[in-house]
Subunit: 420 residues, 2 copies
């Protein structure tokens, strides 16, 4: 669907993405363990929303409609009804239409598409937020919760760690089909950590990762799957992080900007989105992210752009193999060549198409419901020269995001262009 | 927001709403117990969607966008990512943009408002569905799951049965303020069961309820709260049902109807919606559903109608006191007089403003995510003379629905008018 009204990204913000190994995260090895506690989901969501208002100067009273992405708050923190929790993020939000969307790891992306539809419908200022708290339980229990993004009845049992195994299955098929190795894939991991190390909000800001570490099983970076068929295709370092965090942003139409007194030059334009959903429980091609490719095709067509036009990408790297395959789904790399972008430096911050400049899901972190929002804000920040130590030398004019839920079942692709 | 494009309800359908005491529901007292099983969430959702396609003659390939309301599938059936489950309801839905919305008991209502926005945005045919499976666990565990619609951290502990107690608190305040009794309230319960007894899809189709039964604590209809302060203000018969079920409907624009080859005279028009959200964890006036009143005001204003214009209402009766208070929030009864509508026969099927003609949440049943869809389909069916044994003698020209999540935290009100 082509947008009948222009949509502007006014700006946004993130909380720190917190979890094990982050210097501020309270876990059993932290000196403050037992003394203070990590932020609750309410505090985390409010923090991101208030930062977004502060970053943009938008008065919360001006919000016409809002959506908040969250995957499984009911399980991790016993809380659903997150639209009504968003209403508690500022007194001026009370009474407004605010709703939670859920599409597994694309919960944030679909919050954005619902906001864009609302702006097309006639609303003028929208709030898109996303939040997840995941550190309340062990990794093993968390893996069971997250398995609700798959077809639980038939896919849960592939491994204790369902999703790492579903993507190890893709990694195995991909490596065999295209003749690439763990060493080839490891470049993508090293890039993620190198970027995250420059990002003060990143979960893995303080954790270094060398190519040898990322490509070699070790005591600190083991194979961890039980499933013998796929075990050797997934190291801990291939995985995104189990993070707590939230992101929020404000979108507006021309009329909305006029009401807010904000000049379009302070914004980016969200040119189009592509959104596609494939059925749970139906086998998919392990070598391609076909659902994501469909969403990408729609987004590029509706914007009248092609992959060659973008100079920055935020793509879903729930696992290292996902980034590689997503670059192909977006048309940023030919089939079977996705790994070469990081290996040859093209997707580095100073490369021709920087990818996941803040560290991506692997190093910035992956508070599930927030990720789809974060990606769009990150492209905005790069365009506006706000990315600090991980700023791309020449701010991009066009950028793409790809946020995926489950094993390529829901995907949202967005395109942005800078305004000045 | 006034609708810039007309929105038509093309039609819809429900599964049976199943649960304890329904003749087809397999529980320990059913003769088929151990022989066959109740439908899964996938089967239930698919059933409703296929019935909606059959009822309207719409080809699934024509759907442009869809939303599915579900509250806590992650808990009752270990399944999230329901948009991708909706994509599995028909092979022709694969690849379409399909997303789950969640707003507790208003999850279905917000699926509809998201669809309406999508139609305003430029899509032409939308699918709104809702589903919940709740009979997989005991009532006590289920009550804990459902408590995630409240501010769990501060409200969960009001009683083992959180929501019945939150509404018993309202019932107590209301009875004291307006001088009404359990006997006055019981008329609303009796009406619900009398209507449900005429409805072949209703959960309580086979259960009779006299005024004496509904107003007198007994072994089969006890007070069940532990909280001594509120215990005597909530009988089992005051509660809606813990049901499994799904509903689905198709919405379209003028362009959509043209594409479908459907004449508007077969449809109703969805004139407007009002949607409001109030913050979780912030005390509200116990005597009024202020959030719902706000949503109602928006819906009536945007449609240019008043409460006097509607001849049928589907209102959220998660508890008997809720129906009474919602009638006041909608302007269908003066403050403190909501109970008189059922007591004096005005809200009966042959009264001046029939309310919850199929039995409402108390007797038709309350598969949480489906309820907001069901209400709109029920108004449609009354307008089209399709309500069978519970048909209003003179089909209504205008109707209202009110779907509420949590303790008056999210509300969606819609207005429909018949076309002929």
């Amino acid at each position: 669907m082509k947008l009948r009204r222009r949509v502007y990204v006014v700006g946004g913000a993130h909380t720190s993405y917190l979890g094990k190994f982050h210097p501020d995260f309270i876990w059993k090895k932290h000196p403050d363990f037992g003394v203070r506690e990590n932020p609750t989901i309410e505090e985390t969501l409010r923090d991101a929303v208030q930062r977004a208002f502060a970053a943009t100067g938008v008065d919360p009273a001006e919000i016409d409609k809002g959506y908040v992405g969250n995957f499984v708050g009911e399980l991790f923190v016993n809380q659903g009804h997150m639209g009504a929790m968003l209403a508690a993020a500022d007194p001026k939000l009370a009474g407004k239409p605010l709703v939670r969307t859920e599409a597994a790891c694309a919960s944030g992306g679909v919050a954005v598409t619902a906001c864009v539809d609302a702006l097309q419908a006639g609303y003028d200022v929208a709030l898109a937020a996303g939040v997840e708290i995941q550190t309340t339980v062990s990794a093993m229990i968390g893996a069971d919760y997250l398995a609700r993004a798959s077809h639980y009845a038939t896919e849960r049992e592939i491994d204790r760690f369902t999703f790492p195994c579903l993507f190890a299955r893709r990694a195995k098929a991909y490596k065999e089909a295209f003749g690439i190795s763990r060493e080839d894939i490891a470049h993508t991991v090293v890039k993620a950590y190198a970027n995250g190390n420059r990002n003060p909000l990143a979960h893995m800001q303080a954790v270094k990762m060398t190519h040898e570490q990322a490509s070699t099983p070790s005591e600190s970076n083991p194979f961890f799957l039980d499933n013998e068929l796929y075990r050797e295709h997934m190291l801990i370092s291939d995985c995104s992080q189990v993070s707590d965090g939230a992101s929020a942003m404000i979108l507006a139409t021309d009329e909305g900007l006029a009401r807010l007194g904000i000049d379009p030059s302070r914004c980016t334009e969200l040119l189009s989105y592509g959104q596609a959903t494939s059925p749970l429980g139906v086998p998919a091609d392990p070598l391609r992210l076909d659902n994501s490719a469909r969403a990408a095709r729609i987004a590029f067509e509706d914007a009248g752009l092609s992959a060659a036009d973008v100079q920055v990408a935020e793509v879903h790297d729930c696992f290292s193999i996902t980034e590689i395959m997503m670059l192909e789904a977006l048309g940023l790399a030919p089939e079977g060549r996705g790994a070469s972008l990081a290996a040859e430096g093209h997707s580095h911050i100073d490369g021709r198409i920087p990818v996941n400049t803040g560290g991506g899901l692997m190093a910035f972190g992956h508070p599930v419901g927030a990720t789809g929002i974060k990606q769009i804000v990150e492209v905005f920040r790069q365009m506006k020269g706000q990315a600090g130590d991980y700023q791309i030398p020449t701010p991009p004019t066009h950028g793409v995001t790809a946020n995926m839920g489950g094993d390529d079942r829901t995907t949202v692709v967005t395109l942005q262009r800078n305004l000045a």
